[in-house]
């Protein structure tokens, strides 16, 4: 086995604290090293979380390049989906080109159970911000998030059961097929044997808002309904942040669990994993279901934030956008995907437009850069795959895997 020189003997524990943090004064460094290992590892994430938590308070005083709080909500929702997709693609190594289907499933679950869509019935359960006489099903958004996750996970299992037997590229194609069928179904679903399920191209809008209800509002001053609250964006932002942290936490814990190790084993060598007694189908289906679960929650949350679910949101391009986040950050690396996701979502929402403007000013000619956003993502994907397939923040194990090539079958040698 031949390792590239830069990897030989330079494990994470080879020289603890020697070449890193050399810039700190010795006393501080000594104090730092006296801290127990778990504390040290938590300091940086905790600091970031605190910074993120107070973002709405100091966002106004930041320079214009920083995103607004409303934009940040969208960025976080897409990052959450990318973390969910990372479970499927990064951990289990199943290329899913139809993740947008899960996003759609989550959004429409919210739209069905928290809007005026089904006017045949009137059912309220913990809904806030609307009159109790409003027709349609209105369930509390907090419950909807769970329902959407569960519903999407079931959808993931239903899609996965027949298709996960297929390997690699065939699976990618099948997921792509579902990613094309579901948006079309949604667009045409306003007349399924006379029943209006999805309200066609108009989408379903408005969707109820999350909130804490009037009782809590009177008691401790939290808003009864986010949409109607004065500082709407910041409440949506804090909720999104909480959901993202939960997703990241679950993702990290899952990776280190028995199931997570089984996923990685399948990713590295499916045949060997099966020989070691890992039930392939069940393990892969779990990856699908859990990945779908987070996609569904993110989709439902985004739908309540936008107060609508529209079929034009669910195009194949979204799947590729999410895949690009995972690849940029590093397949399998949770922190990498969070960084990659936030970065790309920022580019998509504001960054490209801003870069485009300064670029146009520079050359004195107007160029509509956001129009070419998918060309930029395509370029990122290709460049990353060619020059840094491990991603910006590689997962240690994945890096080794790509360097040593645990796949003994190269592209060429696979034959019938």
């Amino acid at each position: 086995m031949k390792l590239p020189t830069r990897m030989r003997g330079k494990g994470p524990d080879a020289h603890p604290g020697e070449d890193t943090r050399g810039w700190l004064p010795p006393q501080v460094r000594a104090a730092w090293e006296r801290l127990p290992e778990p504390v040290r590892r938590l300091v940086l994430p905790l600091a970031l979380v605190v910074l993120a938590f107070f973002y709405p308070k100091y966002a106004e005083s930041l320079p214009g390049a920083f995103p607004g709080v409303g934009t940040l909500v969208i960025m976080i929702v897409f990052t959450m989906m990318a973390v969910g997709l990372n479970i499927v693609v990064g951990y289990a190594g199943l290329l899913d080109l139809g993740y947008v289907a899960f996003y759609a499933a989550g959004a429409y679950t919210a739209a069905w159970f928290a809007s005026l869509q089904f006017e045949q019935v009137t059912f309220h359960f913990g809904s806030v911000g609307i009159s109790q006489e409003a027709v349609g099903i209105h369930i509390s958004i907090w419950l909807i998030l769970l329902i959407a996750g569960a519903f999407t996970a079931i959808a993931g299992i239903l899609i996965g059961l027949p298709t996960l037997r297929l390997r690699g590229d065939y699976l990618a194609i099948v997921t792509l097929g579902f990613g094309e069928i579901i948006p079309q179904f949604v667009r045409n679903g306003d007349n399924i044997f006379g029943f209006d399920l999805t309200h066609g191209t108009f989408g379903i809008s408005p969707i109820d808002s999350p909130g804490f209800g009037t009782t809590l509002e009177d008691a401790i001053g939290v808003p009864a309904s986010f949409q109607q609250s004065f500082d709407r964006a910041q409440w949506f932002y804090w909720t999104a942040l909480g959901l993202l942290l939960l997703t990241v936490f679950c993702s990290v814990r899952l990776r280190d669990s028995r199931l997570g190790r089984a996923w990685i084993a399948i990713r590295e060598d499916e045949t060997a994993a099966a020989a070691m007694g890992i039930p392939l189908m069940r393990t892969k289906t779990w990856a699908y279901a859990i990945g779908a679960f987070f996609g569904g929650i993110a989709g439902a949350y985004y739908a309540t934030f936008k107060s609508g679910a529209f079929p034009s949101d669910f195009f194949f391009n979204v799947s590729i956008f999410l895949l690009c986040m995972v690849i940029l950050g590093g397949m399998g690396s949770v922190w990498g995907v969070v960084v990659g996701g936030l970065f790309l979502a920022y580019l998509d929402q504001e960054g490209l437009a801003k870069i485009g403007n300064s670029f146009s000013d520079l050359i004195g000619k107007q160029i509509d850069v956001p129009k070419y956003n998918f060309g930029v993502y395509g370029l990122i994907i290709v460049l990353m795959m060619l020059f840094r397939p491990t991603g910006l923040i590689p997962e240690r194990r994945r890096k080794k895997e790509l360097a040593e090539g645990v796949h003994d079958e190269s592209l060429y040698d696979v034959s019938g």
Partner: protein
């Protein structure tokens, strides 16, 4: 269980086809002709997928966009370089189309070969998903090249091959543009078959697709053979692009992706890696689309065409991954 369901489904389909035929035979045959023409264009694209898959086991997602760029180059040839219009004499138009075909094929060949050289060749020993993901990225890059070069709107050309009726057999109308598509497709297919079956280069291709290392040991220049395959596939895509433009007179930068997916479905239905299968699948898809959009008796209609095509793709991959004519592959087990 699956067998019973499958047989039942095929029976229902047969009843549906016969029922439609019985209601209006003339209309049915006209729709059939549309299906065959579209199937021929899909076939040219599908062959490109199949050739590349046969030799590299790679789904070249960018192939559909090579097709679209070929078509766009064709429009530039017709509009700017040659400045053809419907008032030109028939000979000028025929020669102009021939020149357009040649230019588009040359361009697409060069483009496809370059893609392989720049992107896929470096990833030959990477895990299998790496080239696949690269191909998806490449597809988006090519789409944006089309967007930069030809803009967001449809590029239209004059209807050089008229869609007037050339001759009628019974109630079936043979239009010039449909005849032209079939007239161009057939020689291309014959030439391709000859190339793959009867020449040294074709033998090298077949050898490389069976076992690359053994082929290399027998003195086949594997790299050159792969480049040649990409060149061939690109040429077919370019020809398909020009045919598409002649048949529908408009094309846009993002149409390649859709058509590419449909053509890929055709290749899978026939059995990917199998050339006759790709054609069979392409004609099947062409017919399904035409029937669904043209017939009237219990037909879902054009809103559902894509769902039906991709539903078929999923059903084939799940129940018969080797396709109609293919052999079992490791993927299918």
């Amino acid at each position: 269980m699956v067998g019973v369901l499958g047989t039942g489904f095929v029976l229902l389909l047969l009843i549906w086809v016969i029922g439609n035929f019985a209601r209006d035979p003339g209309e049915f045959l006209n729709v059939l002709l549309i299906g065959l023409t579209n199937g021929a264009v899909y076939g040219l694209i599908a062959l490109g997928y199949t050739l590349v898959y046969g030799i590299l086991q790679l789904i070249n997602f960018a192939h559909g966009d090579v097709f679209a760029l070929g078509g766009l180059v064709g429009t530039t040839m017709i509009l700017t370089v040659l400045d053809l219009s419907t008032s030109d004499s028939a000979l000028v138009i025929v020669l102009g189309i021939a020149a357009t075909l040649a230019a588009a094929m040359l361009f697409s060949s060069a483009l496809n070969t370059t893609i392989e050289l720049v992107a896929y060749r470096r990833l030959r020993h990477a895990p299998r998903l790496a080239p696949l993901i690269t191909a998806v990225g490449m597809s988006f890059i090519l789409q944006n090249v089309g967007l930069i070069g030809w803009g967001v709107n449809f590029t239209s050309v004059p209807r050089l091959v008229p869609n007037s009726v050339a001759f009628s057999l019974g109630s079936v109308d043979f239009q010039w543009n449909k005849i032209a598509v079939l007239l161009i497709t057939l020689p291309v297919l014959l030439a391709l078959t000859y190339l793959v079956q009867a020449t040294r280069q074709g033998k090298a291709m077949r050898a490389t697709s069976q076992d690359r290392e053994a082929a290399a040991m027998m003195g086949v220049n594997v790299n050159r053979t792969i480049s040649f395959t990409f060149m061939l596939a690109g040429g077919l895509a370019g020809a398909a692009g020009v045919l598409y433009v002649l048949n529908f007179t408009t094309i846009r930068y993002d149409q390649g992706f859709q058509l590419g997916l449909i053509a890929f479905t055709a290749a899978v239905i026939g059995g990917i890696g199998n050339m006759a299968g790709a054609l069979l699948g392409a004609v099947t898809i062409g017919l399904i689309e035409a029937f669904n959009e043209g017939l009237t008796w219990y037909t879902p209609g054009s809103d559902w065409t894509r769902s039906i095509v991709f539903g078929l793709l999923i059903a084939i991959l799940v129940f018969r991954p080797e396709g109609l004519l293919g052999e079992r592959t490791p993927e299918g087990q």
